[in-house]
Every structure is written in structure tokens, then in C-alpha cells.
Symmetry: C3
Subunit: 212 residues, 3 copies
């Protein structure tokens, strides 16, 4: 169904990126749940949804079923731990709004890169792999905001999806030019992270259509 060797070779890389990304996104989901006054379990559900929806969507779309987030215990465990920590210590977490933006940018970078790598490993062409990398990065935030009944932030925030797309594009370009995956993964994640952080700090954003 897919080239075992490539997938196997990239597995440790994809899993490490995914684990760290899962943790930081779970924090953001749990924080949204606390803000919406959900109970402990609702907070854990939002925590899991924010951390894993992007990866689950990617896995469904590339035919990797059951999705890693459902099949492998680390994703669930990490999401629950992040959710409980946020639930217990949230005033602290809330005061740390700026660090959370940093973590969120890190998660976005890691997921965009791991999503593109896994899509390539499953035989996707360059353009779909870029698209799927971006989707892996932004999917969790979209589901989190839809469940919390808000217009998804990622459709509004400064260069959010653009940064994810840039990170995924670097990974795909590396595959096309046969650069080692580890090199392009680091380059892609750094580029995505730097672009997003610069956009936040300097208020960069894309144009909005002119009012009539």
C-alpha cells in the first residue's frame, strides 16, 4: 500500500515532532475549554481535539487508518496530561499568555513539517503534500474553535496558515531535491516558527478585501 522503507525511515522523526506538537496544542485546547467554563472532562475533550484533529484528518485523507492519534497511546496520554495540568494550574497558564503563543507557534511548525513528511512517505505528490502539511498544522485549531462556537482563529490570525504552508513547502522542496529529511524538517520548522513569531511581533498580516 505504501513504501514501507521510507515510512519506516521517517517514523522516529515524525513521531518525535508529533509528540511535542501534541503537547503544546493540547495546552491551547485545554485553555480554551477552561475559558468556556467546561467541566474537567469537557476540558480534556477539547484538549484532545485541539492536539489530534489535524493529524487524524491527515491520516484519514492519506489512507493511514486507524490514525496514529487513535491507535498509539502516547498521543492520548500526552493530551490528557496537558489537559489536567491546565485544569489545575490555569490561572498560572492564563497569565502565561505570551509563552503560550510561542508554544502554539512551535506546535504549528512541528505539525506542518511532520504532516508533510508523512504525506510524502505515503506517496503523495508535492502539491498535495504541502496542502496536507498545512492542514495538519491548522486542523486542530479549527476544530477547537468550531467546538467552542467561534470563527476559527487560524482564518484570521497573522500569517498563521501561511507560515504552516511555508514550513511544509520547504519539506516538500527538500524531497524533490533529495535533501536529507532531517535537514529539511529542521529548516521547515524553523522557517515556520520564525515567520509566525515575526508576524505576531510586528503585526504582519495579509490584506483584507477593501470595504465597499
Amino acid at each position: 500500500m505504501y513504501p514501507i522503507t521510507v515510512e519506516e525511515a521517517l517514523k522516529p522523526l515524525v513521531q518525535t515532532l508529533d509528540a511535542i506538537g501534541t503537547f503544546v496544542f493540547a495546552l491551547s485546547g485545554a485553555a480554551a475549554g477552561v475559558r468556556a467554563r467546561l467541566d474537567l472532562f469537557g476540558v480534556l475533550v477539547l484538549s484532545f481535539a485541539a492536539a489530534n484533529s489535524g493529524g487524524i484528518l491527515r491520516d484519514l485523507l492519506i489512507g493511514s487508518v486507524p490514525p496514529a492519534s487513535i491507535r498509539d497511546w502516547p498521543y492520548l496520554t500526552i493530551s490528557i496530561l496537558a489537559g489536567i495540568a491546565t485544569f489545575l494550574f490555569h490561572p498560572k497558564v492564563d497569565r502565561l499568555r505570551k509563552p503560550i503563543l510561542v508554544f502554539d507557534a512551535a506546535g504549528l511548525s512541528l505539525f506542518a513539517v511532520s504532516g508533510a513528511q508523512k504525506s510524502l512517505a505515503y506517496g503523495m505528490d508535492p502539491a498535495p503534500a504541502m496542502l496536507l502539511g498545512m492542514l495538519t498544522g491548522i486542523g486542530g485549531g479549527i476544530v477547537r474553535d468550531v467546538l467552542a462556537n467561534e470563527i476559527p482563529l487560524v482564518l484570521r490570525a497573522e500569517l498563521y496558515a501561511v507560515a504552516a504552508l511555508a514550513g511544509a513547502a520547504i519539506v516538500v522542496a527538500g524531497e524533490v531535491t533529495r535533501t536529507p529529511p532531517l535537514v529539511t524538517s529542521i529548516a521547515g520548522a524553523l522557517a515556520c516558527f520564525a515567520l509566525r513569531m515575526a508576524a505576531i511581533r510586528r503585526g504582519w498580516s495579509l490584506p483584507v478585501a477593501a470595504a465597499e
Copy 2:
């Protein structure tokens, strides 16, 4: 792709649980549609979505494609009949709010158990099977509320997802200890139902994070 024998052996059990659960959840979806002033067809769509989204999501995630809710006619037929009945007799249905809560708890119990059984039959490990059982139980209500533009009730209601998780956990524990599936299905459904009803009656709920 999966052990035919186990799946075949559990099929009648899963199908019966699913059919009854479909009916009671379709009633809840149709009632939400009537309340949102949708037309007849919109009511039927919400009716189908509430009754089948959990099972469809489960089937996509375990790789059972096309999902039973799409492939087999009983699910669609049952959903439509429940939707039409609600549309025609809704003042009665609406007055029966308390019985509906009972039916909804029954649907939750049946879906949590059938979802866990089917996931085990498709070779899922214990923890994912529990998660998928819970998701089968709560998925329909989440989609129903998102379509009706509300924060999903299941993220707020008294021990809703917790009860589904408990029912699924009993089924999974039974599988691990090789207890006959019929026994654990009944035990799991009763436990989920009792927990949810007790939570409603006595106002049990999980803690909400302390306000700052």
C-alpha cells in the same frame, strides 16, 4: 484486513444495539431541528446526523468503509421515520422532555457499547477501543449541536461522556478477561445508563476550573 470470525460473531449484537440507539438519537436530532425552525428536510438531515455521525466517525477511524450507516438501509430508514414522527407530533414530543432524556441516555449506552465492540472486532487495542466507544456515543450529539450552532451539550452535561467511557471500558475489560461479549455488553450498557440517569437526577457533575 480484520478477523472475519469475531466480526461476524458480534454482528447481530452490534446491529441490534445500533438500531435502537439510532432511533432514540434520531428523535433528539429531530427535536433540535424543530426547535431551530428548520423545514421538514432540514429536520430529517439533523435527525440523520444526530443518529449516525458517531457511528460514521467510528467506521472511518477503524477503516470500515463504506460506513454501515451509509451502506445499510435500516439506519437511514429508522432515522427518517423518527424524524417524520417528531415533525408531525412534536408538541407531544416536546412535552415529553423527561422521557427523551431517558431515551437519550439509552442511546448513549447502546452506542458506547456497540462502538467498543466493533472497534475490538476490527483489532483495535484496549485503550483505542474505549476511546472509540465513547466517541461513537457522543459523536452524534456533537455534530447535532455544531450544526445547530451551539456549544456541544455533551461537553457540558452531567457525566455524559464519562458515562459513555465507563460503558465502553466494561466492554473492553470483558474482552481482555475473555468474558462473553453479550454479558459485558449488557453490563456496560446498564452501567452507562445508570450512571447517566443518576447524574441527571442528583445533579452530579465534574468540577469546573476555579474562576480566577
Copy 3:
């Protein structure tokens, strides 16, 4: 996995219908994004989501993975072009509200027909193929409205889903009676289009449940 010959034979037909439907739905998604004051990238995401969610959902449900909208470049390209055009020229687009309703009805018709054809080609039974045809037609609009935080219009609009169902039903009836697919595709699309346009013009709608 599926009868290659039928699928291959219907491929050009399905692809042509899909391409035109993609363009007109992408216009509607982009217009919704401009109205919600999203930035350029957000507009493109809504554009893609409105144009492709129905087809992606259908492909996931019939087991055609990766979905054509992700795998084949025309869908993405068409969606982006329609999104950019709307972003640049939207005052014009917005003034053209009535023509857009016509395009939207055309997209609905084309997707309902292509969705039913592809489902039949993948071996679905008649009733599921009708359901999947309807879903392909209305899915994009539902996702667009959920992302824009509104109750989906298709659950309210005049005979919207009903028209899609009628178009899909004609395709399926043609398959059962062995009428050539091209004939039933044209008949189905015309019937859906005519029904939807007549419903708009004359304000036809289904009954809403009586107020209590």
C-alpha cells in the same frame, strides 16, 4: 477494490462535472470569506472548503483515498483562482448576488450528479448512492457555513437539499434501468437546477413544524 472499467468509463464525465461545480462553489465560499472580513488566505481556505468538502466527504465514505480534491491539482488550482478573483473584484461579485445564486444552483446540480455517479462506480447500492450524491452537493455549503459560524443555509434554503436528492435519484434510476450515464447525468443536473431555480423564484419551500 472496485470495477475499474465502470470507474474508468465514467471518469471524464465525473471530472468535468466536478471541475465546473468546484469553480462556482469556490466563488460562494470566497464571497462568504470576504463578508466575514477574513484576510486573503482565510478567503482562499473558505473558497477551497466550500468547493471541495462535499467531494472529500464522499470520497472518504466510499473509500476513495486519497480524495480526488487532495490528490489532483485542478481542484486546488480552480479553488484558488476563484478565491483570488473574488478577493480582487468582490464589490462586483457582491453586486452580482443573483447570478451567484444561479451559479450556486448549477454547482449543486453538477455535484449531486457527479457524486451519485462516482458512488455507483464504487459499487454503492441505489439508496446510499442517492444519499451520497445529495451529500456531495450540500456538503461544501455546510462546511462553509459552520466555519463562518452560522447555521448552515442548506438546512433552511428553499428546496436546496431536496433538489440535490432529486438530481441524484435520477442518476441512480438511470443506473438501475441501464440508461446511458451521460443521458441521466444531463437529465439529473437539469432537474436539480430547474427545481432549485423555480423554488427560489416562487419562494417554494417545505413546511416548517407548527409552533406550539
